[in-house]
């Protein structure tokens, strides 16, 4: 459907050209104005989501449609302040961590209940983390990506729980604040994985409760009147301002935007950069919170001999004009990448000096590596052509267009990049084969340096396709140095040292030219002018707790 959607959107966009431009700082200005008004209680927010949610087992909350629901109905042990990225109290009012980060003790706030009436106490928290940390084979519940080295829990008293880890797990505290660590009731945890796609079965302690669901179509969330345990440092305490949220799945881009502008919806997710102007021209607001993780990038699979030579990878890095990509396809909401992680991410190091666009250098590097321009204009060596392929990633914004532009840019130095699309099965299988996909798009959001390990470590997402990971097609490629750096990142208890390691990894990945970072990926939302108090958690999932509706003018 996306193709048809894009066609229509572009048509709609040109039809509206000529309307006056709105100042960029508008969003900030109106946010400041929000604070001067008194929130009013009540009302229904109509929220249009692009995709149907899938399984709502909390560790599967990384998928945006899932996160958008789980963030309203579940609470987390801790709260990561989206501005400072500091970890603040929420369900846990206090905690202690031992020196080598192998033991964490949390004191649970009293009087909290799940929406089925059962208490959210130390025992419930312990059961949640035992499940997320170790999985449950019988119920087919997989383990959570954000919890490393988990061993066991111990309930010290009804409101105190202690977690033990096999090795240092410094990322765990932040891991307790993420969307994938939403706390659910014992009843929910006793269900098999296959039953957790039904939102009404996800019983959390959050400010909203799912009251009804039409599978694949819509979801009604109602505010819990007795909710009184929001993050302790928030100005807003007590129940959510809204009475109801109606979440309606509307896959077609132009229908979501049209419905918002026609006053049939209040808040929508997923707006492509080329539609932003149309929305802002009408006085509506674009919100584009950063996902604060690994930037939208193109990565190489050095197991493929064509990109095994560092000079080839470096040449392609310098042949990629990220400025052109950002200015042609995206907007100011998509900042150009200056490292493999976003500048708002923890541990960020500015590497823009190493990420220059330099076509002469690129050509020289390829010449040096022995790749000469052949009669067909493509680089050749020993009878082989420098002909690479990458599969489009559907969830990333305009990924196909991005890759096609990269292909054009690489074409200037005589390298061919085939941008492939396939059904999900073919794409998933082939993308695990370095010989079929020597190049791949990649990104992931999470506001902790652990995210770098998630992305590159062989037994995690393994984007470089090292041996020993999720692909059996890899012949030999392993980078021991990278892996040992990643391991120390995930287990260094000292914060300063840990951030230094994060910096070292960023430089290493760019020096090796394993990845070409392109832009910092936001999640784009649009809201009607009367919707106030829009907030996002640290990696861009909306929180509706603070939202209130002013009278429509």
């Amino acid at each position: 459907m996306s193709l048809t959607g894009r066609f229509v959107n572009k048509a709609g966009l040109t039809a509206r050209v000529g309307v006056s431009l709105l100042a960029i700082g508008w969003g900030q200005a109106s946010l400041a104005a929000d604070r001067n008004k008194t929130p009013s209680i009540g009302g229904t927010l109509v929220y249009l989501e692009q995709q149907t949610h899938t399984n709502l087992y909390p560790p599967a909350g990384g998928f945006y449609p899932n996160g958008g629901i789980l963030n309203q109905i579940t609470d987390k042990l801790t709260y990561q302040n989206p501005q400072t990225l500091e970890i603040e109290p929420w369900i846990a009012e206090a905690w202690t961590v031992n020196a080598d980060a192998t033991e964490y003790t949390f004191k649970i706030r009293s009087g909290i209940t799940f929406s089925d009436g059962t208490p959210l106490d130390a025992a419930a928290v312990a059961k949640n983390y035992d499940t997320f940390g170790r999985g449950n084979r019988e119920l087919k519940l997989p383990i959570s990506e954000v919890i490393n080295n988990y061993e066991r829990s111990e309930v010290l008293d009804p409101l105190t729980v202690k977690f033990y880890f096999k090795r240092s797990s410094p990322g765990f505290l932040q891991g307790t604040s993420v969307i994938g660590s939403g706390l659910v009731s014992l009843a929910t945890l006793s269900l098999p994985y296959e039953a957790l796609g039904d939102a009404t079965k996800i019983i959390g302690s959050g400010p909203f409760v799912v009251t009804s669901e039409t599978l694949g179509r819509e979801l009604t969330l109602a505010a819990r009147k007795d909710y009184n345990w929001g993050p302790a440092k928030l100005a807003h305490q007590g129940r959510a301002y809204l009475d109801t949220i109606k979440l309606i799945v509307t896959p077609e881009d132009s229908v979501r935007i049209g419905a918002l502008l026609a006053g049939q919806a209040d808040f929508i997710r997923q707006i492509q950069a080329y539609d932003e102007k149309q929305v802002e021209d009408e006085g509506y607001r674009i919100h584009a919170p950063s996902t604060r993780g690994v930037n939208n990038s193109v990565v190489f699979r050095p197991d493929n001999p064509l990109v095994a030579d560092i000079r080839v990878r470096r040449a392609l890095l310098h042949a990629t004009n990220t400025d052109e990509i950002v200015s042609t396809l995206f907007s100011h909401n998509y900042p150009k990448a200056t490292s493999i992680i976003a500048r708002t991410a923890l541990g960020y190091t500015d590497l823009s000096s190493k990420l220059t666009y330099d076509i002469d250098k690129a050509k020289a590097l390829l010449d040096e590596a022995g790749w000469k321009v052949g009669s067909n204009g493509l680089r050749q060596k020993d009878g082989q052509t420098l002909d690479l392929s990458a599969y489009e990633s559907l969830p990333q914004p305009q990924n196909k267009e991005t890759l096609q532009l990269v292909a054009q840019q690489w074409g200037k130095i005589g390298v061919k990049l085939n941008v492939l699309t396939g059904d999900s099965g073919t794409a998933t299988v082939n993308n695990l084969d370095p010989s079929k996909a020597p190049v791949s798009p990649a990104m992931v959001g999470r506001a902790d340096p652990d995210v770098i390990k998630s992305q590159y470590y062989p037994t995690n997402r393994n984007v470089l396709l090292q041996k020993g990971g999720n692909s059996d097609k890899v012949k030999s490629f392993v980078d021991e140095k990278l892996n040992s750096l990643l391991e120390s990142l995930a287990s260094e208890p000292d914060r300063i040292k840990r951030l230094a390691i994060a910096g070292e990894i960023q430089s290493y990945v760019i020096d090796q030219a394993y990845a070409i970072p392109i832009f910092e990926e936001p999640q784009a939302f649009a809201a009607a002018p009367y919707v106030n108090g829009i907030a996002f958690e640290a990696v861009g999932r909306p929180s509706f707790y603070d939202i209130w509706l002013a009278p429509r003018s």
Partner: protein, 314 residues
């Protein structure tokens, strides 16, 4: 009669089994499977051992023939399995998605019949030739109109500009007006085309000339003599159009954000959600069989010549 019915039901069972088996084999032949797509996706970030565990827990590692007999046995007992992608039983998914599609398809089809009959009648009865040829060219226009474009156009005009019908949160009837209209247009085109051609053909038959010679009006001849004769081939086309209805529903449901079999099929295909796809294939095959049976039983109602064997009395 009963022998005829038993024969038809026997055929239906064979068709259903064949549809089931062919789709099973084809789905197995595709690279990857739903578990791979779901769990290997970066969304969960699972390691290889965990994925192997999950495969074992879904019994995805047993041999294909064993899986086949399991699935057949489960289907026979009404157990359609679980949708791996959505995380709910396939039965629940069908219950949520079948009724809206049946409504959409039934109303869309009825409207298409009305439109087709209207166009055909006007193309014969209108006094001016240029108006007649205008009506005659409508089916070509209708069949070449892209459904998604029409749907978005109708939404833009009636919902966003004129604000007559909300597309978000509509009432139960409001929700159907624009989608039914969208779906009816392309369905009505082949119906009208076949109907017009048959009317033209029947109009040249000698008995029409006789009726006209006896003083019957054009309209009288059309309704009393021609229509009944022209409707038979149209009925055949109508049975086949069911496939078009499903295909049209995929687009219509996506544009209007309706839940239904169309959208469900699209998602299931994208994610190779085999349990859901198998259920949809069997359901569609069953619907085809039933509709064609109904069409066959309707022939004698319209054409007394087919009743002569005395086998079928509708």
């Amino acid at each position: 009669m009963s022998r005829y019915l038993i024969k038809r039901i026997g055929q239906a069972i064979v068709v259903l089994w064949a549809a089931f088996t062919v789709s099973f084999v084809l789905l197995q032949a595709l690279p990857g499977d739903a578990i791979l797509i779901k769990f290997l996706n970066p969304e969960l970030g699972l390691g290889p051992e965990q994925i192997a565990d999950i495969r074992a827990s879904y019994a995805a590692d047993v041999s294909v023939p064993v899986q086949y007999f399991h699935t057949v046995a489960n289907f026979l007992t009404g157990n359609f399995g679980y949708s791996i992608q959505a995380g709910v039983p396939v039965g629940d998914v069908l219950v949520a998605n079948l009724p809206p599609t049946i409504w959409l398809a039934a109303l869309g089809f009825m409207l298409a019949v009305v439109v087709a009959v209207g166009i055909s009648a006007l193309s014969v009865l209108t006094p001016f030739i240029w108006v007649r040829s205008l009506f005659r060219s409508l089916p070509s226009l209708f069949i070449s109109t892209p459904v998604f474009w029409l749907g978005i156009l109708l939404i833009q005009i009636f919902s966003f500009q004129l604000k007559l019908i909300p597309v978000i949160n509509p009432g139960p009837w409001q929700a159907l007006v624009l989608p039914v209209l969208t779906l009816a247009v392309p369905i009505s085109a082949p119906l009208a085309q076949v109907l017009m051609r048959n009317i033209d053909h029947v109009l040249t038959e000698p008995f029409v000339a006789v009726a006209r010679a006896k003083g019957a009006s054009r309209r009288w001849v059309l309704w009393r003599h021609v229509a009944k004769n022209a409707v038979l081939p149209t009925l055949t086309i109508a049975g086949i159009l069911f496939g078009e209805l499903l295909a049209g529903a995929v687009v219509t449901e996506a544009v209007f954000g309706l839940n239904g079999i169309g959208g469900l099929t699209q998602r299931a295909v994208t994610n190779q959600d085999i349990a859901v796809l198998q259920a949809i294939v069997v359901f569609s095959a069953a619907a085809f069989v039933i509709i064609n049976l109904v069409v066959d039983l309707l022939y004698p109602v319209f054409d007394p010549r087919l009743r002569s064997k005395g086998e079928v009395v509708a």
